[in-house]
Structure formats: C-alpha cells, structure tokens
Amino acid sequence: MAAKPCLKIKGRGKGPKGSSSSTTSSSSSKNELVKEWTNWSLKKAKVATQYGFIPLIIIIGMKSDPKPHLFQLLSPV
C-alpha cells in the first residue's frame, strides 16, 4: 500500500548533510511534501471514484421522484 508521506520526508531529511542553506532545503522539502500529499490524495480519490461512482448514481436515482422500488432495480424485466 502507499506509505504515508511523513515517513518518507524524515528519511530524506537525514540523508544529505552538507546542504547549501537551510532555507532552500526547507522550501524544497515543503515542495516535496506538497507533491507527496497531492499524489496520495489523488490516488485515494481515484480509488474512491472507482468504487463509489456507480453506487452514488444508484443512490441519487433511487431517491428521485417517483421513487422506484428495489425490486425494479434488481429484476431483469
């Protein structure tokens, strides 16, 4: 499964010791952090859409007027 982004950043912070200046490394690590979080959230959104889009349409449809019966949903006629 996708690892949480925080653990990855901690590992990266320990690696390079002789970095040029603390501000550039913190801003680049912030960029990395933002990128990691957006990638993680996009992946979760994709999985949620894949599983939930059709059930969402069915729920919205079953609530619209006139309310269809559950039997009409499942029967092939």
Binding site: T49, I57, I58, I60, G61
Partner: protein, 309 residues
C-alpha cells in the same frame, strides 16, 4: 396625381422588407460549442463502426434514472509494430451502466468487468456556467485519465476552460460574427510531452449547408462541408491534411434518415469503405449492422448488434 400614389406605396413596402433582412448585430445567436463545431460532418463520416456482436439492454426505472447492461464480443485491435499488419485479440466483456438525467445534473457511469470505469458528469452550476467532467479510470497504473471543463455561455459567445490530468490545460473561445458565421480559437498546454498549441476554427451554416474549417499548430488542417439535400438525406465531405507529418485523407459520406431505419456510409482516400445500418424492428428494438472494408490493409470488419430499450 393618382399615378404618383401607387409608386410611393410600393417604395414603402420595399423599404420595410429591406429593414427586416438587415442583420441585427447586437442580437446574434449563440454559436455551437467549439468541440461540436463539425457535429453534422461527424454524424455522417465518423459513425461508430464495430466488429463482432453488440447487445445493449437499457431499462428505465424512472423518468430520470435508468440502468443499462451491454455485452460486447469481438476482436479488439492491438497496435502493432509494422503498419501493414494488424493484431487482433478476441475479447468479450460485459458493461454495467447507470444514468441519471436531471435538467441540472447529468451523471453517466459505465463499469466493465475488468474494473475500468467510464464516468461523465455534467452539472449546471449557474444559468450560464456548466461544469463537465469526464474520466476513464482503470486498475492499471498510469492508464487513468480525467478531464474537467468549465463552460461559460454568453449571449453570442462561448468560452471554455479545460483541466486534465498529467497537467493539461486548455481554453477555447467561439464567437458569432454574423447570424451564419462563427469564428473561434483554442489554446492548450500539455505538461507531460511539453508542448503547447494554438488553433483557429470557423463555421458557416445556413439551413441547407454547413461548412467548417480548422487549423492548428499541431499541424492539422481540416475542412468539411455538409449539404442537406432533403429532410431525409444529407451528404458530407471532409478533407484533413497534416503539414508536419504529410498525411492527407479525404472522405465522402452520406446519411439517410428514413422512417424505420438510418443508413450512414462513407468512402475514404485510404481505401476504406464503411457503412452502418440502424433499423427499428419495433418499438424499443433496434437492429444494427456494421461493415468496414479496408482494401489497403486487407482488413474487413463486420458486426451486428441489437439494442433493446
């Protein structure tokens, strides 16, 4: 004296009809959306020919809500290295779909047995602003695409902003210049293959004919012309030239809309002749026959299908 009066009367009537025909430039009609610029030509020339069996069953539970079941069995083409041979793999799949149609919200979802979801959403955010979203999500990594469009409809213009995954941004604008002529342009920037493009389009339509032209910096020049011969018959022709890859294709097609059936056919300069017949057997039962003969590659595709509901 009596001789002078009738000419004055006729001069007044002539002047009035001339005023009616004069164009009211502040009240032009709204143009067609930029991506539907050549929709009449697409109906005749880009009919969806298929190969194999196709069965669609659509069941409406409600005025707004319906479910659909589709079975498709047939070979699918796999891109091959050499352009002469085509590799076909026989596949069969079942697709479950749910549709919800509301004046303000439209949701269409199609889910296949291999986990691929095809989702379309169209929501009217305000009177003039429409959000459209389109996604193909699959289980394979890096094979999912999504695109969001924001459309704004003005009194005689339309503007659209597109955002897609893998950093794709595009914008289109189309404006009615006279009641019959509309001009538009588009700009896009794609992040992954770092390229950007700009294109222009024009559309001229009357009751009997539609002519469109498109030029883009990606190298395509496309022109098409559709003539409506009668209520039942229309003929279309299309010319596409790519000045970067030096590809040229010209095609001629027809569209016959009869009482019980609809026949569309076209012939190409690549040696492809194709036709699609949709026949209404009875209320809610449609029979489809499709044929595509590629004489250059010696690839012949035939398909038949049935649509219920």
């Amino acid at each position: 004296m009596a001789d002078l009066l009738p000419p004055l009367g006729t001069a007044q009537i002539d002047g009035k009809t001339k005023v009616d025909e004069k164009v009211d430039y502040s009240n032009l009609p709204c143009p067609v959306p930029y991506e539907e610029l050549h929709r009449e030509a697409i109906m005749s020339l880009k009919a969806d020919n298929f190969e194999g069996l196709r069965f669609d069953f659509s069941k409406g539970l409600n005025q707004k809500f319906s479910l659909s079941h589709s079975v498709m069995m047939g070979p699918t083409e796999v891109p091959s290295q050499s352009p002469d041979t085509t590799i076909k793999i026989p596949t069969a799949h079942y697709e479950f779909g749910a549709n919800y149609f509301d004046p303000k919200l439209m949701l269409i979802g199609r889910l296949m047995t291999d986990g691929r979801l095809n989702a379309r959403v169209k929501a009217d955010l305000t009177d003039r602003l429409v959000l459209k979203a389109n996604g193909q999500l699959s289980n394979e990594p890096h094979m999912s695409h999504a695109m969001f469009n924001f459309d704004y409809m003005g009194s005689d213009y339309r503007a659209q902003l597109q955002l897609g995954n893998s950093a794709l941004i595009g914008a289109t604008y189309i404006q009615s210049v006279t009641p019959r002529l509309s001009l538009g342009g588009e700009v896009f920037w794609a992040g992954v293959p770092r390229k950007s493009g700009i294109g222009y389009a024009a559309r001229y339509d009357t009751d009997k004919m539609v002519a469109t032209a498109q030029v883009a910096s990606t190298g395509t020049i496309a022109m098409n012309y559709v003539q409506k011969i009668s209520e039942k018959v229309s003929l279309a022709t299309d010319f596409a030239y790519n000045y970067l890859s030096r590809d040229v294709v010209a095609s001629v097609g027809y569209d016959y809309i009869l009482r019980q059936s609809r026949v569309r056919g076209k012939i190409d300069s690549n040696g492809v002749a194709s036709a699609l017949l949709e026949e209404r057997l009875s209320m809610g039962l449609n029979f489809l026959l499709s044929a595509e003969l590629d004489h250059k590659k010696k690839d012949y595709k035939f398909g038949f299908g049935l649509t219920v509901g």
